[in-house]
């Protein structure tokens, strides 16, 4: 599920899809099933309840050329319980991912890790004599960059949520 999966094809672009679906596990399985049976890829997926009761919002990041993304969108839409599918990629949108990183932090390394944490506006949420647990929120690239920065210290455990995204309502004028 790392961002280096983008393969070798040249016209593969990253897409963020926002799917609203009736909240049931059969529908979720069908969504995952489309990806495995049709040979599409999921870079990240997050699933949680949406605004309306009984509906869930699923955010999927994937990649592929235009034809593949079009097929993915159509195939998702074909699932009976899927209410809407929007490809946010060509719109203005906000996306965030959260990661919890437990990193080795001996006394000597601790202040450097805290500085990095500050620079990324991440948050230390747990501390013990030998390690730190850090919460980082941001777009995928920012989370990747942070993980890359702390990796040399030794990552003990890592949990990522996958991307969640919403369309931007107001773009303002310049």
């Amino acid at each position: 599920m790392s961002s280096t999966q983008n393969g070798t094809a040249t016209n593969q672009t990253k897409h963020t899809l926002s799917v609203v679906v009736k909240y049931n596990l059969n529908a979720l399985s069908r969504i995952i099933g489309i990806f495995s049976s049709k040979g599409f890829e999921i870079d990240s997926i997050s699933f949680g309840s949406g605004k309306e009761t009984g509906l869930a919002r699923i955010t999927i990041t994937t990649h592929g050329d235009e034809q593949i993304i079009e097929q993915i969108t159509k195939q998702l839409h074909k699932i009976i319980d899927v209410v809407t599918v929007s490809d946010l990629t060509h719109q203005s949108f906000v996306e965030r991912e959260m990661a919890l990183v437990k990193v080795k932090a001996q006394r000597s390394a601790r202040s450097e890790i805290m500085q990095i944490t500050d620079i990324f506006r991440a948050k230390i949420i747990d501390i013990s004599p030998d390690n730190l647990a850090i919460e980082i929120t941001g777009n995928r690239d920012k989370v990747n960059a942070f993980i890359g920065m702390v990796r040399p210290f030794g990552i003990i455990e890592l949990a990522r949520t996958g991307t969640v995204a919403l369309k931007r309502e107001f773009e303002g004028s310049v």
Binding site: V21, N26, R30, S37, Q71, K74, Q75, I80, D81, V83
Partner: protein, 583 residues
């Protein structure tokens, strides 16, 4: 149970069964009443532990004809044949576990060819789900990729609406199979039957009307075409658009080729018909597809058996693609004018806006192709050539039978050499290519259309996969004609081994183990005949047609080494077809 009340309202077959008080029934009763209310007249099923409550309801029900098939796979094929012959959804009932898993091949077959099926399976009681209980299988999980939608009904109060939704989903848009899983305790629990018909699924709204500007673009392209061609698929049959298609082709004198699934969607006796295209299509259909300048795909999905090598498929044409399922459009072949919509709505619109294209030169070319390489029927009196067999069946039934085939060489010959002038007259497993489909599907077609003659054309291999259904055919006195093209081998496999594997006939020769099909038929109480020459075959066919109270098995001994041509080798383009054996 307040069954007296339930029964009086049951007599009311009107659509609006609105009562002051909806009757309290158990889940099984609600299901049966909902089926009656949805005008279900036939169920293909097999009882078992988890569906005992349902079978108890069926015991004294006189409105629904339950056909006891001998294996659930055959049940799902029979329901499929019923659906293809009538246009109504086929209904299957099976018990939990193995009952459900046995239906899987039939469901997958229906899914590939967009056939509306509603499959009801029993399930272990709710509290035992997940415990590896006796006869438990996660049938919703197993069938998820091969159903349009499926449901596990946990609450008896949701049963009626779910069943209505299942029928709505199965039959609307691009049709397909739907499965409803019914835990035994839910079938026994008490609930209410409302009789309300309204089904509303906000997330499901198939597009019916085509986009107007797209239709105009299509009409413009067609008006300016010099070499137009219509390529019609199963969508014409599913969408009941055969009259609209015929009108478009006749009004503008446009040639029509159909896919295997589209056979009968355009009358083959009309001069505009080029027969079938694709791997075993006619020379002239494949040449026209390669040379045309505007190709109108109607309810077809550019299947690999149709297109051959995609690079060489219809390379000079602008393509118009009409389909109700947007995922079909642009999937295999890029199209110039996509139209998402119901072919029945879209075709007349295109017809209306199209001006007469000048197709005289095009017809000269096509007619030359037709003269150069017509479909050939070998002349042979002392043997039976498979092509002769199909022609004889076509002649004796005047092209008016429902022809149901199995899969393989005989299927292709039946597609080529029977003249299909009527829709819903050629039933065959196209997408999945399911051997064992033919005979039970023919059985189902008979139950759907008892007044039409049904001929099952099958092979000695395919027939043996579901031959046990002779029991069902005998029990219900089905006057089905089963014509076995018996070449004592798996013909199509053998043909490929001959052509592409150095004549190494690995496990494709059935000669030694084949039964005596005449005795097999007779042991079930069916009629059995054998023929080895053209003359004998015609006598047997004539006699078979007079039998109307039991199935007839005809063992036609054909030439083992006959190959099916024309043939486009896999990976080749359509115009690279092979027309006959190398000398």
């Amino acid at each position: 149970m307040e069954s007296a009340k339930a029964h009086t309202s049951n007599k009311n077959k009107e659509k609006s069964v609105q009562e002051k008080e909806s009757p309290v029934l158990n889940g099984a009763g609600i299901l049966i009443k909902t089926l009656e209310n949805l005008d279900v007249d036939t169920i293909f099923g097999y009882p078992g532990g988890a569906v005992l409550p349902l079978y108890d309801e069926l015991f004294d029900n006189n409105d629904i004809n339950h056909v006891l098939i001998r294996h659930e796979q055959a049940g799902s094929h029979a329901a499929d044949g019923y659906a293809r012959a009538t246009g109504k959804p086929g209904v299957v009932m099976a018990t939990s576990g193995p009952g459900g898993t046995n239906t899987v091949t039939g469901i997958a077959t229906a899914a590939m060819d967009s056939i509306p099926l509603v499959v009801f399976t029993g399930q272990v009681p709710k509290e035992m789900i997940g415990n590896d209980a006796f006869q438990e299988a996660d049938i919703v999980g197993i069938t998820r990729p091969i159903t349009k939608n499926n449901y596990l009904v946990k609450d008896v109060d949701e049963l009626e609406q779910t069943v209505r939704e299942a029928f709505h989903v199965a039959t609307s848009g691009r049709p397909g199979p739907v499965l409803v899983d019914l835990p035994k305790d839910m079938l026994q629990a008490k609930g209410r039957f409302s009789g309300l018909h309204k089904v509303s699924i906000p997330s499901y709204n198939p597009t019916k009307k085509g986009h107007f500007t797209q239709i105009q673009k299509a009409a413009e392209l067609l008006s300016e075409a010099e070499k137009p061609l219509i390529y019609a698929g199963g969508g014409v049959i599913l969408g009941e658009a055969w009259e609209e298609l015929t009108a478009l082709a006749e009004n503008h004198n446009i040639p029509v080729t159909t896919t295997l699934m589209g056979l009968g969607g355009f009358p083959e006796s009309k001069p505009q018909s080029l027969g079938m295209l694709g791997m075993h299509g006619t020379y002239y259909a494949n040449m026209a597809t390669t040379e045309c300048d505007v190709l109108v795909a109607v309810g077809a999905r550019f299947d690999d058996r149709v297109t051959g090598d995609l690079e060489g498929f219809s390379p000079h044409s602008k393509k118009i693609h009409i389909d109700i399922d947007p995922t079909n459009i642009g999937k295999n072949v890029e199209v110039d004018v996509p139209i998402v919509g119901d072919v029945k709505h879209v075709l007349p619109e295109i017809d209306k806006h199209t001006e007469q294209p000048d197709t005289n030169d095009w017809w000269d070319t096509i007619n030359k192709w037709k003269e150069e390489h017509p479909l050939e029927v070998p002349e042979e009196d002392h043997k039976i050539k498979p092509q002769q067999m199909m022609e004889s069946i076509s002649d004796i039934t005047n092209g008016k039978a429902i022809v149901v085939t199995d899969v393989g060489q005989h299927q292709m010959w039946a597609a080529q050499h029977y003249t299909y002038d009527y829709p819903r007259s050629f039933l065959s497993s196209g997408g999945l290519g399911t051997m064992g489909y033919g005979f039970p599907a023919a059985l189902g077609a008979h139950f759907g259309c008892p007044d039409r003659p049904v001929v099952c054309i099958t092979g000695d291999g395919g027939f043996q996969m579901t031959a046990y259904e002779l029991a069902t055919a005998v029990e219900y006195e089905v006057p089905l004609k089963i014509a076995i093209m018996n070449n004592e081998c798996l013909g199509m496999v053998r043909q490929w081994q001959e052509l592409f594997y150095d004549e190494r006939y690995s496990h494709s020769i059935l000669k030694k183990g084949n039964p005596d099909f005449v005795k097999l038929a007779e042991s079930y109480g069916a009629a059995g005949f054998r023929a080895s020459s053209k003359n004998e075959m015609e006598q047997v066919l004539a006699e078979a047609m007079t039998i109307d109270d039991r199935p007839v098995v005809m063992d036609f001994r054909v030439d083992e080494y006959e190959n099916c041509y024309p043939m486009v080798p896999s990976g080749a383009a359509l115009n690279e077809m092979v027309l006959g054996d190398k000398e």
